[in-house]
Symmetry: C2
Subunit: 227 residues, 2 copies
DNA sequence: GTCTATAGGGGGATAGAC
DNA sequence: GTCTATCCCCCTATAGAC
């Protein structure tokens, strides 16, 4: 073992942030858990806010690099042709699920991250927006190319819904128990489950209100509710 | 106007909880906003924790009653036959989206609620679990009856993913901006969008790892996406 | 780099007058 | 029911010894 203080603080903060939330976690809790001195946080990071950013950045940067690498690999294999939506979904969400299965810290972190998109704290949201800017630009472009029939605004909503499902898939272990006794131990099963749900949602027929704006007035006999 | 102090405190708390989170919202902020006295919170509610519960209960009870009423109406119309999945989805999620469109407080509240399933604070989660117990039991039963082919565990995960999508649909206005400029002003469009996404996900083909366990090896030529 | 001690501010809750 | 005043606790951040 013998990890250095800085790392022990990051590890402790990560775990406590997941368990209690950013705000309710105090520097005292963190330094106690990390067996470090209270002043250590400010020495190593400068402030609590800077510590929070460091906790996110430590793993988020790598996660998004992996996402871009996975997408790039698919794109090179396709040689200029549009990718299959499933491939893009895998590159974005699959990487996340895989990290969430990594018991070596990744799991803890992803639970934290899953909650953070809707975090009320302003600086966390703006910080995340910056961290995500590049990966989002890349994936938006790939999706638009792969789904030329889907209006972009419609797609962005679906992407947003997919993020919601991912967030719950990862961080919702406690919320899940509300639904009953569910086994959440098998990451492979979770991966398969989430993937088919996401693809199903992404490729669902467009709602009538949108579909009717599209230049494809093919017979639609009464828009009976499909099921 | 002339609302009473108790109501003004609830209104102020609701708004501030959405904006800053439960923890970061102080009683002083609440009473200042409500033009009430600091001691008023403890007089009317007993504690901050009790105030939080009151804020949730004020609208959540009605929401879940509406959900059950909508489901019951469908069930009575069906006369014992299984409902269409789309009807059940409408009864659960449609009611929520409609409340989220209600500018008369419902909108604010739903944003708060959307975030709260993954709330780190223990007592909020256990409180919500109690409030939801009945409605969840009713809807689980209806879904199981409507989707006899879907293994129950599989369905519960999908329900969980659907909750995630709903949560983001409602509360993710800020997170959405990360994706680009999107119009989120039209509740009808949101309703239609979310609904088709949810149905698509719910009715997606089962993942192979699950499908192969099912005693229905009937040729399924490619599990065409249902719609 | 790590510690102790403390400054300086804000939190929730309550006693008791009105 | 509403107010003021205040208790007591815990927070983050920092100064300065080691």
């Amino acid at each position: 073992m013998e990890t250095d203080t800085r790392t022990r603080i990051l590890d402790a903060a990560e775990q406590l942030f997941v368990r209690h939330g950013l705000d309710a976690t105090t520097l005292r809790m963190i330094t106690a858990e990390a067996q470090a001195n209270l002043a250590g946080v400010n020495y190593h990071f400068g402030s609590k806010e800077a510590l929070i950013e460091a906790v996110f950045r430590r793993r988020l940067t790598g996660l998004n690099e992996q996402r871009i690498a996975a997408l790039t690999a698919f794109e090179e294999a396709a040689g200029g042709a549009p990718l299959k939506p499933r491939q893009i979904v895998e590159a974005f969400f699959g990487v996340a699920i895989r990290m969430a299965a990594d018991r070596n810290g990744g799991q803890t972190f992803m639970r934290l991250l899953g909650r953070s998109y809707t975090e009320p704290t302003e600086f966390v949201r703006t910080f995340l927006a910056e961290e995500y800017a590049e990966v989002i630009a890349r994936f938006k472009a790939a999706f638009f190319k792969a789904l030329p029939d889907v209006p972009q605004e419609e797609f962005l909503w679906r992407f947003h819904f997919m993020m919601g499902a991912l967030s719950y898939a990862i961080s919702g272990t406690e919320a899940l128990r509300m639904l009953g006794p569910i086994d959440d131990a098998d990451p492979e099963a979770l991966y398969a489950r989430l993937m088919s749900f996401l693809i199903g949602g992404l490729r669902a027929p467009l709602p009538d209100s949108v579909a009717k704006h599209i230049a494809k007035p093919a017979r639609r006999p009464r828009a009976k509710r499909a099921a």
